[in-house]
């Protein structure tokens, strides 16, 4: 047993292995076990059947012999019929021993030294019993059979003990055993062969797939050829889907890079143009306005760059799905604290409406913070800048039946409803503010989507834009 375990351990511990070989080895091991178990059964069956057939010979011979035992002239008269021993001739090479005992267990005829004990049980009268003994150095199967004599002069049981050596019996047992074992081996061999063919056949789609994939370029838009095999179809379908996703992700990336480089180049060109204008000016003194313009452009460029990088980070991290359980209040507090500190020099008023319960979601802390920060920045940018009203940014967290929601509202002019969906696209700037990069809401939406949530824009009751993040409950997130 331990060797088998060792082999199994060896098989499973090795890092690379052949599926075909492992399946075949295990099947062979299993078949060997089955064969061993069946062999024991077959051996038992062969023994029983040989005993059965040769016991019947003994039984009928003993019955015939008993026929020749009668009472004559007030004595037990023994006249054994010739046919009795002719019956035993069916086992031609076997030797025959017998003994006949009278009513008082007195020896009458035959071999007096047979190793069988006489019993005087009533049951023996009906059923003969069999026993295997060694006599004259040979294995001998004996039958003990009794017959009741009920004459006035002689009353009691005569017993006949008839034995036969077991040559024919053993030979038949061996024949049965070998025949059955041969059949078993052939069946097992065939099964293994069929198994081998089946395994090869079952593994052939793998070869087919790899050959198909090898010849195709990964960028190939072509799908794998359709297969007739129902079991393989989902795999090719999955590979096709996977590739399509990759290709679309790649396309999105390409678009993004194109957009981003365009944006950065434009911003750089603007800055450069401003600088050139300043340099070529006749004035020795550089106009403060010009520097202000350059500063603005530069700020815009920096912001754009930061946001592009943030966006790339979010998209990248979203792909990796390293989510953990987060407490939303904590995250909001961190983000708001940071924002309040950053905008301390402005007169923006931050409001925080905490929820009644703890809100926990499954998510990426960094991505969420970045997204929220962007939305808040967006609100600051687009919020009210008129001096007679104080800019208010209200951040609230709601625990809802279907999801969690984070609302960020401002009292600025807002976005017309017709443009709201457009506002979520990259590099699209809506409204009068030209300082924005057009990336803030796009980043937030990416973050919401990677958290299996949504980003919705609506009109706030404060008058400006309301941005609503919704996140699924932890259980739903797991299920999705």
């Amino acid at each position: 047993m331990s060797t088998i375990e060792k082999i199994l351990a060896l098989i499973s511990s090795s890092e690379e292995y052949s599926l075909r070989q492992r399946m075949l080895t295990r099947t062979a091991l299993f078949m060997c076990t089955v064969l061993a178990i069946l062999s024991v059964g077959v051996w038992h069956y062969a023994n029983t059947s040989a005993d059965y057939s040769y016991d019947r010979l003994l039984s009928s011979a003993s019955v015939t012999m008993l026929d020749g035992i009668n009472v004559a002239k007030n004595q037990v008269h023994i006249d054994l019929p010739y046919s009795a021993f002719e019956i035993l001739q069916l086992a031609p090479d076997d030797k025959v021993y017998y003994a006949i005992y009278g009513p008082n267990a007195d020896f009458l005829s035959g071999y007096f030294d047979l190793p069988v004990k006489l019993t005087d049980q009533q049951a023996d009268l009906i059923e003969p019993h069999y026993a295997l003994h060694t006599y004259k150095g040979k294995k001998v199967r004996f039958i003990v059979r009794q017959k009741r004599l009920s004459e006035r002069s002689v009353a009691g049981n005569v017993t006949i003990i008839l034995g036969q050596t077991t040559l024919a019996r053993d030979a038949q047992m061996r024949d049965t055993l070998y025949a059955a074992l041969t059949t078993l081996m052939v069946v097992m061999g065939t099964a293994l062969l069929v198994m081998w063919i089946a395994i090869n056949r079952a593994l052939s789609p793998l070869n087919w797939l790899s050959s198909q994939l090898k010849t195709q370029s990964p960028m190939d838009k072509q799908n794998l050829p359709t297969t007739q095999m129902l079991e393989v179809a989902p795999l090719t379908q999955a590979i096709n889907d996977y590739r399509q996703q990759w290709l679309s992700a790649l396309a999105a990336m390409r678009d993004f890079i194109a957009d981003a480089s365009h944006q950065i180049r434009t911003a750089q060109a603007t800055t450069k143009a401003q600088l050139e204008i300043a340099l070529t000016s006749d004035n020795e003194q550089i106009d403060k306005n010009t520097i202000n313009e350059i500063y603005k452009d530069h700020t815009k460029l920096t912001r754009l760059t930061n946001q592009l990088l943030a966006h790339a980070t979010i998209v990248h991290r979203g792909d990796r799905q390293t989510f953990s359980v987060l407490t939303m209040q904590k995250i909001l507090q961190d983000v708001i604290t940071q924002a309040v500190r950053d905008y301390a020099h402005t007169d923006i008023e931050f409001e925080y409406v905490p929820p009644h319960n703890d809100v926990q979601i499954l998510g990426d802390e960094l991505v969420l913070k970045e997204a929220l920060r962007n939305v808040i920045d967006n609100a600051v940018q687009h919020g009210s800048h008129t001096s007679n009203t104080t800019a208010i940014i209200r951040i609230s967290l709601h625990y809802r039946q279907e999801n969690h929601q984070v609302w960020v509202e401002d009292n600025g002019p807002g976005i017309p409803e017709s443009m709201m969906s457009q506002a979520l696209e990259r590099f699209v700037k809506v409204g009068r503010n030209t300082q924005g990069s057009g990336l803030g809401l796009a980043i937030a939406q990416s973050a919401a989507l990677t958290h299996r949530g949504q980003l919705l824009l609506s009109k706030s009751e404060l008058g400006g834009l309301a941005v609503c993040f919704s996140f699924p409950h932890i259980m739903d997130a797991n299920d999705a």
Partner: protein, 339 residues
């Protein structure tokens, strides 16, 4: 005393004291004159072997083996198949291998791999030619029974047969007659009424038939009778046409044989083509291989379409050796043939 009288010690070599293993001790119930050519040929084939041959009556041979006085033999040969089977059944033999098959149609000429037959000797009728000059000779058992009834006077005191009581072979033949032929009882009674002459041995019966003391011999061993008839024009041999029992002379290697291998070689030789050919051409015996015929059988009666009943070497022969069976059979036999 009687036993000693029958025993004749024979040395078949000028060097009687050789190494023990090269001595082949054969105890046999076969006339030495009938088997001598075989012994000679075996010694020629195995120059280092020395054969010690001792002749017994079948029953005496059996008694000697059960209750030995002499050293154990290597090979035991007898024509009394029932006694041979009994000895083998009781473990007096040892198995030997590579003994050639004389014919594939004769599985009964061998029992297990211990007892091997090597001759095929029919039981025959022998008659005195002069006495039957103007008479019809009975060719079947039934015809004999009829003649015994109808010509009681002719046969009175002049028909001879084996003594079943004292001869092992006689008992075997008489008992097998009973098994084979349903009218045996009637025939026995007829023999009894005819005051049949009962003898222990074929040779004595044959002598009396030659002299004309007996006119008819019932159940004589065909081999000896035919050999005698070859050299003697007074007697004729009839293989009964309805059925003829056949005695298969058999041999086995004794359990306690000192030269078991040589014994096995000897038995293999007896059944080999050379041995069978020698039996056919040079001995009084008849070969187990029936295609060879016998030089003592010029009329080729052995291969005529007679209904031969070879007595199988098989445990069924044990049955008539049962104490009760034997007593009963001999009782009825003596009553029928009673003095």
């Amino acid at each position: 005393m009687l036993r000693i009288a029958f025993v004749c010690y024979l040395f078949f070599s000028s060097l009687p004291l050789m190494a023990q293993e090269s001595n082949l001790r054969i105890y046999s119930a076969t006339d030495i004159s009938a088997i001598r050519p075989l012994l000679h040929e075996f010694e020629t084939l195995n120059p280092e072997a020395t054969i010690l041959y001792r002749e017994f009556n079948t029953q005496e041979l059996y008694d000697e083996l059960l209750d030995p006085i002499l050293p154990p033999p290597d090979v035991v040969i007898s024509s009394a198949s029932d006694l041979q089977v009994k000895l083998v059944n009781d473990g007096f033999a040892q198995p030997i291998y590579d003994v050639p098959n004389v014919s594939s149609h004769q599985p009964w000429a061998q029992w297990s791999n211990e007892l091997f037959g090597f001759t095929y000797e029919p039981i025959v009728f022998v008659y005195n030619k002069e006495s039957f000059q103007n008479r019809s000779i009975p060719h079947t058992h039934e015809a004999l029974a009829e003649q015994l009834r109808e010509q009681a006077k002719f046969y009175q005191g002049r028909i001879g047969t084996y003594d079943a009581a004292s001869s092992g072979l006689g008992y075997l033949v008489a008992s097998q007659d009973e098994v084979t032929f349903s009218l045996t009882g009637r025939l026995q009674e007829s023999l009894g009424r005819a005051r049949a002459d009962i003898h222990c041995c074929t040779s004595l019966l044959l002598t009396r038939l030659t002299t004309g003391d007996l006119v008819f011999g019932y159940n004589l061993l065909g081999s000896y009778a035919m050999a005698k008839a070859m050299n003697n024009e007074h007697i004729g041999v009839i293989v009964p046409e309805d059925y003829a029992l056949v005695i298969v002379r058999s041999a086995f290697v004794h359990r306690d044989a000192k030269a078991a291998e040589l014994g096995a070689d000897f038995i293999a030789y007896l059944r080999s083509p050379a041995g069978q050919q020698t039996i056919a051409n040079n001995t009084a015996l008849m070969p187990l291989d029936r295609t060879l015929g016998s030089h003592n059988d010029p009329e080729n009666q052995l291969n005529s379409s007679t209904n031969f009943h070879p007595i199988r070497l098989a445990p069924e022969l044990l049955l008539y050796l049962d104490q009760h069976k034997k007593t009963q059979f001999l009782n009825s036999w003596s009553q029928a043939l009673g003095d």
